[in-house]
Symmetry: C2
Subunit: 367 residues, 2 copies
Amino acid sequence: MLSARTDAAYPSSLELPALFEQSLRDFFASRREAVETIGGGYETAVDTLESFVLRGGKRVRPAFAWTGWLGAGGDPQSDDADSVMRACTALELVQACALVHDDIIDASTTRRGFPTVHVEFENLHRADNWNGDGAHFGEAVAILLGDLALAWADDMIRESGIGADAAARISPVWSAMRTEVLGGQFLDISNEARGDESVEAAMRVNRFKTAAYTIERPLHLGAALFGADAALIDAYRKFGTDIGIAFQLRDDLLGVFGDPSVTGKPSGDDLRTGKRTTLFAAALARADDTDPAAAQQLRSGIGAELTDNDVDTLRTLITDLGAVDDAEARIATLVESAAAALESSSATAEAKTRLREMALAATSRTY
Amino acid sequence: MLSARTDAAYPSSLELPALFEQSLRDFFASRREAVETIGGGYETAVDTLESFVLRGGKRVRPAFAWTGWLGAGGDPQSDDADSVMRACTALELVQACALVHDDIIDASTTRRGFPTVHVEFENLHRADNWNGDGAHFGEAVAILLGDLALAWADDMIRESGIGADAAARISPVWSAMRTEVLGGQFLDISNEARGDESVEAAMRVNRFKTAAYTIERPLHLGAALFGADAALIDAYRKFGTDIGIAFQLRDDLLGVFGDPSVTGKPSGDDLRTGKRTTLFAAALARADDTDPAAAQQLRSGIGAELTDNDVDTLRTLITDLGAVDDAEARIATLVESAAAALESSSATAEAKTRLREMALAATSRTY
């Protein structure tokens, strides 16, 4: 039970990330011998992956999974707690794969203030004056390390120590979650390539790349780990989908209106990078209906080289078209329906409190 | 049991590929609903992955796994046979990931006479005149489809229907196999980038990228599926490692001396593409010891634009340095030690016959 590892036999939300990180450290240690047997520099590459995984992130997915288990009746002081902790933490290895591969796909050069994995190996290649193209080498290593994280996510959940019944219950959830997030990523790049500007297309990405993957399925996984009944699972999934979509809508607003000192990204980042969010799609749809000149301005502005003044102009347009009010209203409705689903569920009082706080943190206006 | 699906209740080696392919078709059909729910073109992308997986290949890995199970005492007429067939077939989905991602890493444009997956999506992007860079789009989709194949490999083995005991037995084998093949791929690109010309470095790639992944671990998996004893597992692993390395040494010879009409590749393909095989490393080591001018010729030739005459010159050099005789001698020794391990094992007579044939097919001189 967890008390062996922490002073808190019943860890608070704030204490969870350190526990997930300890699970990750233990897991990487368990692979050490196999990796060293292969040798030839593989150890160093795996160390880079471990540093990447441990470097940060809010551990949102395992936190929802763990809290889902707690709310279904899981007891952090029971002997099951360590196994459940490990199974929940495996979500962070899926996430490591998603981030490492997404950074190649998006050609991102930094993450969490550090070079992305492919850039790190590109830099190494350059610094040591190796043969061939450094950028291609960096991507190749990052593809393989992302694959390793994905394979190890499965190892981690399979070796978590949960019982055969729990393993059977979570199997379809785990399967759906991975198929959905990869689908969401595919839709994201495919919409952009096809120039699909519709709100519907953007919402589909939100649904699968964010909501299902980040909140709905982690909660579902936690519930299945405990063996919750269908009613609680339905309530969790309703809560998770609504909060997940509201979270993405909030993120879309931050991507256009967020304060760089808070978001850590340039002002109007989504406009500059040409991200086709629901917010932008809604503004565009409204402009197409009512203001062709504004539609033209939005289309020529998105993804272009923008001055701060250009960003301000686009922001004003998006606001004046009513897309911001619309997004705020949708967020409020979603948060409300999520709260209702949670309140009327059989989740424990402690979990309800925690999930309300997590929902608030994910969807509140912070810009 | 298998008789439900085939006339042969006890399928011959020749009948196996069709059975593996049926398992793959059934598995893809089982994902259909989840993929259609996500929609937005994901179905079409998954269809491309399915076509790629079904298009060919010799199904070597599931064949070794199945034959390993058979040799340990598995009965194709028993009720376990269908589950075992599915678990063995999951290896083909790991292989799909390895091929799709390797083709990005090696910048290969064709495989089995068709465009590689990343090129197929690049072509689609171009044909439909989509936004952005077609080559980058193709790679992005191929990264995601490779990930999906890897995730589905785990789903397939987890949903195969094998019992909890068998699942626990194969877990460490499955884990080792994936960690090893990704390590072998990493070593391959890392050796090339670092310009490591040693025989030792090339052998390490052979050991993990080919031998462990293609023969040793599949046999081990088959044995573990049945619950074979340690002595048979040791014999299989010895046989698999030796035949696997011999297979790679033969492949290295074919890569330099193979007949294009048989190999389907240009003459001297490994020399033209600059592949750092054990054969080349051994020739180079000998040249460095005895003939600096030859070493110079080898180093300037490998990976350069080569005429057929240049290829002939390098071939003669490699032969005259004794590297070919050395490789043939090593292959003969490995095949012999593998045969000895197999003969003295407790594998069934039927499996011994099949494994001998499979070893012969993998290591014989066919150029």
